[in-house]
Amino acid sequence: MIKIANISKWYGQFRVLTDCSTQITKGEVVVVCGPSGSGKSTLIKCVNGLEPFQQGDIIVNDISIGDPKTNLPQLRAHVGMVFQHFELFPHMTITQNLTIGQVKVLGRSKDEAHQRALQLLDRVGLNSQADKFPGQLSGGQQQRVAIARALAMDPICMLFDEPTSALDPEMINEVLDVMVGLANEGMTMMVVSHEMGFARKVANRVIFMDNGSIVEDAATEEFFGTPRSERAQLFLSKILSH
């Protein structure tokens, strides 16, 4: 489904990604973790071409992201993305946030898009907020709307870029619950996150990044059992000690 092959990226002289390679097969859930500045957010944004890269290639559903001839908007329409800071469109109601992409990109009728939006709001438990604006919702609610917005496009896979790290602790679980539900339904997911509980529960694999490189790429049990690199062990000991 997603094949990342020898990706390298520079900001000017500064190298932010070094020769990263991995694969995510259909239905797999992969969690990417690592210290801040390790390049994990940059890597996930390369997957749908939001960040350009200078070397290597990424293949999503047999389409090359690096190929300048690729129709990126068309591809992105089917790759759902959820951001750290939600990034809902503040001037639109919750329903409009969910319908605009369906209507303008997928060409669905307004009625059809509206139906789908309500169905998804129901799923994330937010029917009652349909006519409110993003600024009137809590962080956790906004992030659930953001997930619903991505799902409204019927994505073939979902990318999550630190979906819970801007949330108050009490709101983290309502978002993780939705994500666990998705994972259990067989959605292909790449999740940049420090939620190790979530990783243990649903991830098939965990990738550990440091300094722009993929240091560990192991099955979940293996990762939490005996991470091979010293750096990953140190990282885990720091975040799991409480």
């Binding site: 908007p73 469109f89 503040p90 990109v105 009137q136 496009m153």
Partner: protein, 245 residues
């Protein structure tokens, strides 16, 4: 002060004709509003386009837009007006140049509108650019991520918020264009300032004349400001910073 006040002067007839001075001022006010509104249309449309182009990834387009802004905001307005009126027609191809100089209808009016429109477009462009750049990078990414093209991302995501944010400076700009339209008297547009000078000379009641004109400008600019305030209230986003709760 030894001044002969005569507030009744406005209803008196002008020296040569059966109009009153009030007729002159009202006709001047009409031209002022016409110049300002027509120029504002150009400024808003062109300024939005240029301001948007200054933020796009394409370097060539961004450079053209930057050049536009720098050209029109680094030369005094009055000098620009005289350039448009006296110099530009000379630089046109011969036939066109002749037509502009001899046959073009309402030449002074259109020259003033184009000049003021372009001058203000540079200022509007900077405000639009500031509005777009005040939005988080994530907003653009979120637009692109659901499959919008870059123009769609601007149309549906970035510009609606950017314009809401810049309504207060745009209001000032709209009021400026009304007040700046007074320079058009220099090339003979029969707008309010022109009529005021004419009335002052004709009636020799300069103080009443200019006080009346001051009041008229104030009323027009203040109405514009109230109109914009209404738009600001109508477009306010619930829950957004600065919006109604």
């Amino acid at each position: 002060m030894n001044y002969h006040w005569n507030w009744g002067i406005f209803l008196q007839q002008v020296q040569s004709g059966d109009e009153t001075y009030l007729d002159w001022l009202i006709s001047g006010l009409g031209w002022t509003v016409a110049v300002a509104l027509a120029a504002w249309l150009i400024a808003l449309v062109l300024g939005s386009l240029i301001g948007t182009l200054r933020t796009v990834p394409n370097r060539g387009l961004a450079m053209v837009a930057t050049a536009h802004v720098e050209l029109f905001r680094n030369i005094p307005l009055l000098v620009q007006l005289l350039l448009w009126f006296f110099v530009v027609p000379e630089l046109l191809p011969r036939d066109l140049s002749l037509w502009v100089k001899q046959d073009m209808p309402a030449k002074e009016f259109f020259t003033a509108v184009i000049c003021l429109g372009l001058f203000t477009s540079a200022r509007v462009a900077e405000q639009v650019r500031a509005g777009i750049q005040s939005l988080s990078r994530g907003q653009k990414m979120a637009g692109l991520a659901i499959g919008f093209t870059l123009p769609q991302t601007y149309r549906y995501v970035l510009l609606p918020m950017a314009f809401r944010i810049i309504i207060p400076p745009l209001t000032s700009e709209f009021m400026n264009i009304i007040k700046n339209s007074s320079v058009a008297f220099a090339i003979g547009v029969l707008e309010l300032t022109f009529q005021a000078r004419q009335m002052q000379e004709d009636s020799e009641q300069g103080i009443e004349t200019y006080l009346a004109v001051t009041l008229l400008y104030f009323i027009v600019a203040f109405s514009a400001n109230r109109g914009m305030a209404l738009i600001e209230r109508r477009t306010r986003v619930p829950g957004y910073i600065g919006g109604a709760k």
